[in-house]
Amino acid sequence: MIIATAGLTKRFGRVTAVDGVDLRVPEGVRFGLLGPNGSGKTTTVRMLLGLVHATSGSIEVFGEAMPRRAANVLPHVGALVEGPAAWGHLSGRANLRLLDAAGRGGRLRDRRRRVEDVLEQVGLGGVDRRPVRAYSLGMRQRLGIAAALLRGPRLLLLDEPTNGLDPRGIQEMRSLLTELNEAGTTVVLSSHLLSEVEALCTQVGIMDSGRLVLDSPLDALRTPTGRILLTTPDPASALGLLDGRVLSRVGNELVVRGDDAAELNARLVAGGVRVSGLGAERRTLEQVVLELTGPGADRVDGRPPPADDPTGPIPIPGGER
């Protein structure tokens, strides 16, 4: 395990930001930490980095206790926490050189090359001498990722890594992270962008109001829902043939109850109904997240929400909890 926490809890005064989290991230995965705003993702990441001290519970990174062994652990961790930050009056290059010089180790002679390498990796290789103050949001984001990549970390902890990037930039980051991951770097990213996590991660953890409510491989989440999506140019005859099994109809598209799309297809064709599209519906990550999490902490309702339990357990084949 690259990261293993046990009963990790953090209280700020009377507010419990993180509550009994047992997070386990195996080596070599791309782990996505999802959850609504204020669900404790960032606080968890900060505790993993030793910036915030846990109220109770333990953290091990690379098998060493944090934050006690921070001096051993952190040199092998690259981090982007709550957006990039830089000294605005200096250029991106100067920022990276100073940051590199601030850490122990790292030979002076290689510094220039190290900095150029990471700038090249994030697509800022040709950046000029203007101060970071004048950078666009996307450039700052790239610079932040470059800073995380300095010194070739074994573990990348990235908070909202694609924030402020345009679609092409997001695509570039995704392939960069996949590349690094295939070269052996464990990538942990926290996000509230589901599409981001769905496109990149192999394993997903979902947090809600401070608790880790799910930790599972992504594939195991996307189970069939027991419904089949059917598109046909003859919706009326399909309705007649499948009487009682059709759950809803919008124009030429029907939702049919059932697990076996092949069986349905055979039946429709035998009945003379033309089929132009057919497939079993799978749960999207979005559905899973919405089922598991309550409203984010940025929503403030006047009345308490309805009494049904949004965080209640749902059966997930292959899920660990």
Binding site: R46, G50, L51, L74, E82, H89
Partner: protein, 276 residues
């Protein structure tokens, strides 16, 4: 980290602006004095000001006395209040800490950079005002005061130029320590808040409070321990013979402030949750 910190400080425009302004005030005073020859009568006005017209070499002492009460403390408050809180506001604090830079190492580097700032500030004021003073008022009358460039001490006896250089050197060191004590307090305040402005104003509040208590008879019990009490002790260095007594006490108290304030900063910062 210390090297990084110094490079960061020296590349900040604000720091250079502070230094330039510190040197500008004595220069302005020198120009006005040279143009009008209207000096305050001996015993009133800023220390040494009445003497500078007769000998420019004493002007550094007058300049230091000019910037000491308000100007210098303000710039020290700005630079030291910025130390941790400024990094927290910019967000760079978290990236330094996960680099990793140990928290004690970061604090030490910050204290050293504040020390370098105050030392350079006092030194710059001294050197600039020496040049300005000599240009505006000359080396003083040779013969009438007993020989080449002789300078009257506050006790009336005449000091040689070498003597004055030595005494001015000691003064620079002493004032730098006084300001470093203030800087250490600023560093402590800077760990308490994420707002550099709040830390800076906190330091100024300490200066004002201490200055307000100093003339108060009722506060005489704590008066020797106030930071501003000893700020003027260096004037005794220009007496002949030197009265070391108050300078010694000042060194102890100001040194104590550095140690206590830095300890408090460390105690607070070591276990602080960095949520900026």
């Amino acid at each position: 980290m210390i090297g990084v910190e110094l490079r960061l400080m020296l590349r900040r425009r604000r720091v250079w602006l502070c230094w330039i302004l510190l040197c500008a005030l004595p220069t302005l005073v020198a120009i006005l004095l040279a143009a009008t020859r209207l000096t305050p009568p001996p015993g009133s006005g800023g220390a040494f000001l009445s003497a500078v017209v007769t000998n420019g070499q004493i002007f550094p002492a007058a300049a230091l006395a000019l910037v000491l009460p308000v100007f210098l403390p303000i710039t020290v408050a700005i630079v030291s209040g910025e130390a941790i809180a400024g990094e927290a506001t910019a967000g760079t604090l978290r990236y330094l800490l996960v680099r990793p830079v140990g928290r004690l190492r970061l604090l030490t580097a910050k204290l050293i950079s504040v020390a370098v700032y105050v030392l350079l500030a006092v030194l710059l004021v001294t050197v600039v005002s020496y040049v300005v003073g000599v240009l505006a008022f000359g080396f003083g009358p040779d013969a009438s005061l007993g020989g080449g460039g002789g300078i009257p001490s506050l006790s009336g006896a005449t000091l040689t130029p070498v003597d004055v250089v030595v005494r001015t050197g000691v003064t620079v060191g002493y004032l730098a320590l006084c300001m470093l004590a203030l800087g250490a307090i600023g560093l402590f305040f800077s760990t308490l808040t994420d707002s550099p402005l709040a830390a800076t104003l906190g330091v100024l509040a300490v200066v004002v409070a201490s200055a307000a208590l100093t003339p108060l008879d009722a506060a005489s019990a704590i008066q020797p321990y106030l930071p501003t009490t000893h700020w003027l002790a260096w004037i005794d260095l220009y007496r002949d013979p030197i009265l070391w007594d108050s300078v010694h006490r000042g060194l102890l108290v100001e040194g104590g402030y550095v140690v206590v304030a830095f300890g408090a900063a460390w105690a607070n910062f070591a276990t602080k949750d960095v949520t900026s």
